[in-house]
């Protein structure tokens, strides 16, 4: 009998849960298991990891038996690559900039312009104007209105 993946969505979902469950068990290896009577810190997460892997195996193996729907939108062309990667990267960049005290104002401008790049058509003039307006609004509300003690620029330390 030849095994054929009939439902790629379920197959990969199963794999993902197996990985997550395995990760949980791996990370819990240093935590004391204890017994059912005296549960150690490792007891609950290890069991959960095992159960999650179990679900992963069931979901993944059913993918060989039950036909999935026609178009699952899993094809490489059907992922929203640009918004997905650009938005998460921009947000991470914003986090780092705030952490290194680059300043609230420049970090926000980077965030807004970066986010705007996630859209398939970028109108530069509009985007820059938007970033200035939103930053001004945010500074007015958060720094002056709510009195958040954020450094506005890197030089104003």
């Amino acid at each position: 009998m030849q095994l054929k993946i009939k439902n790629p969505q379920d197959f990969w979902c199963g794999i993902l849960f197996i990985v997550f469950g395995g990760l949980a068990i791996y990370l819990s290896r240093d935590y004391e298991m204890g017994s059912a009577l005296r549960m150690g810190p490792g007891y609950f997460p290890t069991w959960l990891g095992g159960i999650l892997m179990g679900f992963g195996v069931i979901i993944g193996s059913l993918a060989f038996r039950i036909e999935g729907e026609e178009n699952q939108g899993l094809g490489l062309g059907e992922w929203a690559w640009r918004p997905w990667l650009v938005l998460t990267a921009t947000l991470s960049l914003f986090a780092v900039l705030m952490e290194v005290e680059f300043g609230f104002v420049p970090s926000l401008i980077v965030l807004i312009i970066g986010c705007a790049l996630a859209h398939k058509d970028v109108h530069w003039r509009e985007t820059i104007l938007l970033s200035l307006c939103v930053t001004a609004g945010a500074v007015a509300i958060f720094s002056y209105g709510l009195g958040m003690p954020y450094l506005l620029f890197w030089w104003s330390k």
Binding site: F17, R38, L74, A95, T127
Partner: protein, 503 residues
């Protein structure tokens, strides 16, 4: 009866202070504003605005958050009526007759009727919570750890069974959520778990961070990736806002039935507003003298489901407030907010913090009244908001999310985590998983572990304790029956039909 009046009086004395009235108003207003934006449901709205409530005193914070919750629900209906785009699940039903009404130039009455229905349901819902709450909390006070554990299992299974998507995936998401809930310092042993040496994680992952990553960020990615639908926004001025007298008369029955349906479904875990609204719609269609009017602008088709949805939204507070167990992801967020303010959820809230319990309930009635009054003068603003192109809107939403999360602890780590959950979230969406069970489980994770631990101590490590104590056994039995029912192929098919029809 006298007790009830006294309690409600206490509630109104709390809710009617100038400060709390203001926060209630802010909540309702901001909630409606964000809820109006297409593609952003109550959950994403709550997650986005949650940080705003952190610095407030506990009662005000919860009043504002509750306002955000039903405000955004109402905002979704506004969008469904004015634009042919449903904001979230339950407004799909409102759209069926609401939008045709708008096309016939009766957007005003449709919106007003939705607000009147919501207010009506709000009154009924408030009364029900006031009546059912205290006795339920009294029963819950007798619960031991095994009962709590079984009840939580039931709530989580319920939420997975009725949600969209595959049952197995939802159950797996529950387990994943429990694991996320474990991150942080273990209460009993003081051991840091799953923190990867990051000090910010020792208090656990914030529910706002996860919810915003999964609901906010993932939603925006999805919206940007989907083929751009150009919404047909209603052109021209909306006139004749008030419904006619006949409209009100026709709608009285549907509103009455709608609130009963919603009030029955609301307290049950997992059964959300969408199912209530849909049931009410089907009931009205069956009862109508001329069912063919439905779908073409029948005002009962707006009033009934809207009332049912809101009655459900109100009564979902019952298990959260009296048992400390949320029945939906939105209530999980409320519960998370309570814990952030140092309130231990559970049946003792009603006796330990009566001001909070009754104040919150009274504020919901006031908030619904505000919605009714706000609705008409503000329609113009919402229409204009809907005309802002998405390419300008989403960077603003992202900025709000970024600042909101950063401001929680003034820490970039939280923002990084949100980005991470957004990243994973999109993969999970692509693989057909849904998030509400995960959010629910995440909040319940530490509670479940604690109650499991205590149950085991109680029973000398014997796991049959969950099946030998009568109440606990009842919950487990109900869970088993639910699972059996929903794994039966016939029912599974039916469930799929209902859910896909709902969108």
């Amino acid at each position: 009866m006298e007790q009830l009046l006294q309690n409600l009086l206490l509630g109104f004395s709390v809710a009617l202070t100038l400060q709390n009235l203001a926060y209630c108003f802010f909540g309702v207003f901001l909630g409606t504003m964000i809820g109006v934006l297409p593609g952003i449901g109550p959950l994403a709205t709550m997650a986005m605005l949650l940080p705003l409530t952190y610095t407030l005193p506990p009662v005000s914070a919860l009043i504002m958050l509750a306002g955000i919750y039903y405000g955004s629900d109402y905002g979704g209906s506004t969008t469904a009526i004015l634009v042919n785009l449903p904001g979230e699940g339950s407004s799909v039903v409102t759209l069926l007759d609401g939008h045709p009404m708008a096309q016939q130039g009766r957007a005003g009455p449709a919106l007003a009727m939705a607000a009147i229905g919501s207010f009506f349901a709000g009154c009924v819902g408030t009364l029900i919570i006031a009546l059912v709450g205290p006795p339920l909390a009294n029963i819950a006070l007798k619960f031991g750890s095994p009962e709590y554990f079984s009840l939580m299992v039931m709530a989580l299974v319920c939420a997975s069974v009725v949600g969209t998507g595959s049952l197995l995936k939802s159950l797996a998401m529950v387990v994943a959520g429990l694991l996320i809930g474990i991150v942080g310092t273990d209460v009993t042993s003081g051991k840091s778990r799953f923190t990867f040496g990051v000090p910010e994680l020792s208090d656990g992952v914030g529910i706002a961070v996860v919810a915003m990553g999964f609901f906010g960020l993932t939603e925006i990615v999805k919206n940007l990736g989907s083929k751009q639908i150009t919404p047909t926004i209603l052109q021209g001025k909306i006139k004749g806002l008030m419904p006619r007298w006949e409209d009100l008369k026709i709608c009285f029955g549907p509103m009455l039935r709608g609130s009963s349906i919603g009030a029955i479904f609301g307290p049950l875990p997992g059964l959300g507003g969408t199912i209530s609204a849909f049931t009410s719609y089907m009931a009205e269609k069956k009862l109508a003298k001329d069912p063919s009017r439905f779908g073409k602008g029948a005002i009962e088709g707006v009033a009934g489901p809207e009332t049912a949805n809101n009655a459900c939204a109100q009564t979902t507070f019952v298990p959260m407030l009296t048992l400390g167990i949320p029945g939906s992801a939105s209530m999980a967020l409320m519960l998370g907010a309570m814990m952030i303010h140092g309130i231990t959820p559970g049946p003792q809230v009603m006796t330990a913090r009566p001001d909070l319990f009754w104040g919150l309930i009274a504020s919901m009635w006031i908030g619904n009244l505000m919605l009714l009054m706000l609705n008409l003068p503000l329609i113009g603003i919402w229409v204009r908001l809907l005309q802002v192109p998405y390419r300008l809107l989403f960077p603003i939403i992202m900025t709000m999310m970024g600042i909101g999360i950063y401001s929680l602890n003034s820490s970039g780590t939280d923002v990084l985590l949100m980005a991470f959950f957004g990243f994973i979230g999109y993969i999970l969406v692509k693989l057909g998983c849904s998030f509400p069970p995960l959010i629910l489980a995440m909040v319940l994770g530490p509670l479940m572990e604690e109650n499991l631990r205590r149950s085991m101590l109680l029973s000398d490590g014997d796991p049959t304790v969950f099946f030998t104590r009568p109440l606990s056994a009842g919950f487990m039995l109900a869970t088993g029956i639910l699972l059996l029912l929903f794994t039966r192929p016939a029912l599974r098919k039916k469930r799929k039909e209902v859910l896909t029809e709902e969108g």
